[in-house]
Subunit: 200 residues, 2 copies
């Protein structure tokens, strides 16, 4: 097994254990056994189970961000449409449920926090790139594309995180309806450009 | 010593230890000794050092929020002026530096996360109350006072948290300049209403 394959197998083994509901009780030995790799070899790559989980989350989000990045490069698509595709891509490729639940456990709060910051700093240039396209073709009127992207993504990363807040479906619907309006105001976009954000 | 006095003494003892730079190494016994209370009595109130710290942060932010709440009830002050006072009150009464640094350590990430959520949910009704006053007297034109408050506070709680992001002073200045404009757009406020947000 090549080195990068071994590392990937360790991450995959932990992911599988979490999906099987064994995330809490499994040890580094269990992860090594599942990966078919010696325990000492596993410790060569990672010093603790927490470090493996950190790397797994890091890699999972990198994959999601890469998928999102590809949306900016679709030719002949309007800026509003690209924002729609960006959001659909992000939400459809989010963590699988058991991984997400494990990430939201109190003892993983630091890794969770880092992942939220990573999402914001990675999605900001992608979204602001789309906003700049919209400014150039006069769809948007906005002096601060980067800061606008950050403001709008802050809400997604923070207020809509189910580990931090529990909103009812009515509250969420109202928040999304407002957000469609807020995006319009912040980006100086034509009326109802962002009605796709509203939950039906 | 009365019961609530004992509890308060325990919190005060941990706060003092953190301020003295002994936050990391002190044990529940050290906290009890500093408070002049028996170790077993301390365990009657709290099951761990983490629980004491959690209660200390909870209480400190409750005090800060109470101070902020009083700003809504100042008579004959305009809504814009009240928002200014609210922000000045919040920023001047934030955690003392050593407590803030201790809160930002990785092992306290869960307590930190809870405190951010508490700030948002506590400041939202205060800020939206002020926004509603501004809507009534026709200073603001805004259909969603609660959701607007949440969007703007999300940025303060998340993007401006020094434990999550490290911005340069130039980046911060640009973010605040944008925010003054964003507040104006979201709240439908007269031009330059929020120029007090801009760092000089």
């Amino acid at each position: 097994m090549k080195n990068n394959t071994k590392r990937a197998s360790i991450l995959e083994a932990l992911e599988q254990l979490i999906i099987n509901g064994e995330g809490n009780q499994c040890s580094v030995s269990d992860i090594a056994r599942k990966a078919g790799i010696g325990k000492s070899t596993t410790y060569y790559y990672f010093s603790s189970k927490e470090e493996i989980f950190d790397a797994l989350i890091e890699q999972t989000y990198s994959d999601i961000i890469k998928q999102c990045e590809s949306t900016v490069h679709i030719p002949s698509v309007s800026s509003v449409e690209k924002i729609k595709i960006l959001f659909e891509t992000y939400f459809s490729s989010k963590l699988v449920m058991p991984l997400d639940q494990y990430l939201h456990q109190p003892e993983n709060a630091y890794i969770h926090q880092k992942s939220l910051a990573k999402i914001l700093t990675s999605l900001t240039p992608i979204l602001s790139g789309i906003i700049k396209q919209g400014i150039e073709d006069h769809t948007f009127f906005c002096e601060y594309p980067t800061e606008s992207a950050e403001l709008l993504l802050s809400e997604y990363c923070f207020l809509f995180d189910p580990g931090l807040f529990s909103w009812t479906s009515e509250e969420l619907q109202r928040k999304y309806t407002f957000l469609a309006k807020a995006w319009e105001l912040i980006l100086g976009a034509p009326q109802n450009s962002f009605s796709f954000l509203i939950i039906k």
